[in-house]
Symmetry: C2
Subunit: 290 residues, 2 copies
């Protein structure tokens, strides 16, 4: 099997700013340029990088939202064109009839696709509609790319659907928060988002690239710790700091995501599934609740 | 909500011996007694604790197999009766028409139920039929117990089905092997089985108790590292040594598995699922392969 060329992937960890859409568009451009300077061809920005996170009113969310021809996507797409790179970035999407917490995939030729966050966390439910895009996979020159956003990682069904559709790498714009967790990190300094990233990688033998943000908005504390994980679950870069900006880089041979699907000569990460035993997964509500 | 009393759970890490069924039955009894002495009420033994793992011929597997009235289950059930404890133990099951790599749940009143490993690893496929039991959950005085065996942990569908059926704790007899892994452990000393255990815990907000074995059989190296994980994914005990015997103990409030399902006042680990988007999970074969 011919060795695929390596893909340099970058994960950008920084703090978008609530109420500063122009600044956020410019901030994204600077990080894309910085990552491209470092040789990256695929670059991941955080969740809601266009808008910030902690909306307090519908008006704020409305003002921060943009369509697919909006200013942040426009400027980031321009950067992709100029620099010849691909970018996955979280943005506040104004759809035809609703707002979504979305991730856009852009390349040198412009916008390639959009994923709308399927699993909304806490007050996101006040400002966004749960995603209706399903879990699309995009076939790029260097491999197949899927996207998830933050809380999606705790729903292994989502990553599994991406893997079944052939994803080699799952890019995860995220805004992991300290709130609601009784404990933020363990003695090693890992947050649960790091474990959730490893989980999805090892269960599916895919690469995972999680770009988190830092900073505080209206008492919501974001906890950085961005990471890049390989298809056998070992961390390739990060976790980054919980409070500082960071640019994580890793050289990925995306063909390994497919090659390593054979866990042994007699095992395949997806072929070994027993869907005939998984019937309960189509149940909409938990049968038990306290 | 009344605080449930704590359950002391024990995970027993030791080396069953191939070709020594009587010794294995006695070994299991000794570990059950040791765990009960330490105050444990629920005790987990490794995978194939009755038989050892690395069969080389059908005859060996046949000799090692036993029915539900077999000698190992009989003796361990006796221990449960005498000591008033519950035991989950891996055993080589002779069914009516096939052999299974199974886990038995026994209590003071005798055998409670059996789970047959659904996802077979490597040469297990030569000696066992893939499990047909589905993923049963058993309602015990202290909480709801599900079982998985080893490689099952890499199929998040399995743990999810258990969680949807109300499991508070998933007991995992396992025989994690070093072979086939390009890397056995990371700089922290964790093996991928530890991450797989954390994955299942955090994705489902359940307790996970993984009892691994140690030792070498026919060039297959087992790597211990047993662990007990809490419903938010943090490790409560272990990982144990990769080469030495170990008794791990933890006091679990199993009611937390249900209580913590509410990740926030507006989120529920199972209720937030989007089954209408998970259609691909019923696909039997991966649509792409290299």
């Amino acid at each position: 099997m011919p060795q695929a060329s390596l893909l340099k992937l970058a994960v950008c960890q920084y703090a978008p700013r609530l109420g500063d859409p122009e600044g956020n568009a410019a901030r994204g451009c600077r990080w894309i340029a910085r990552a491209a300077d470092a040789g990256a061809r695929l670059i991941v920005l955080p969740e809601l990088a266009s808008s910030g996170y902690a909306f307090a009113t519908q008006g704020e969310a409305e003002l921060a939202a943009e369509g697919l021809d909006g200013p942040a996507l426009g400027r980031w797409g321009e950067s992709c064109r100029e620099l010849g790179v691909f970018v996955v970035a979280g943005f506040c999407e104004q759809g035809a009839a609703a707002r979504f917490n979305s991730a856009a995939l852009m390349g040198p030729e412009g916008l390639i696709g959009v994923y709308r966050k399927a699993h909304l966390f806490y007050d996101e439910q006040s400002y966004f509609q749960a995603g209706d895009s399903g879990f699309p996979v995009f076939d790029l020159p260097f491999g197949k790319v899927g996207m998830l956003v933050c809380y999606d990682l705790w729903f292994p069904e989502a990553a599994r659907v991406l893997a079944l559709a052939g994803a080699d790498v799952i890019c995860v714009p995220t805004n992991w928060v300290a709130n609601f967790r009784h404990r933020v990190a363990d003695e090693r300094g890992w947050i649960m988002g790091n474990y959730a990233s490893v989980a999805v990688a090892t269960q599916n033998q895919v690469f995972v690239a999680a770009a988190d943000r830092i900073g505080v908005e209206r008492e919501i504390e974001f906890i950085g710790s961005s990471c890049i994980v390989g298809p056998e679950g070992w961390v390739l870069a990060g976790p980054a700091s919980r409070s500082d900006e960071a640019l994580l880089l890793a050289d990925l041979d995306l063909s390994q995501a497919a090659a390593r699907k054979h866990r042994t000569p007699r095992n395949h990460a997806l072929g070994d599934r027993r869907p005939e035993l998984y019937g309960e997964l189509s149940v909409a509500r938990p049968p038990t609740s306290e």
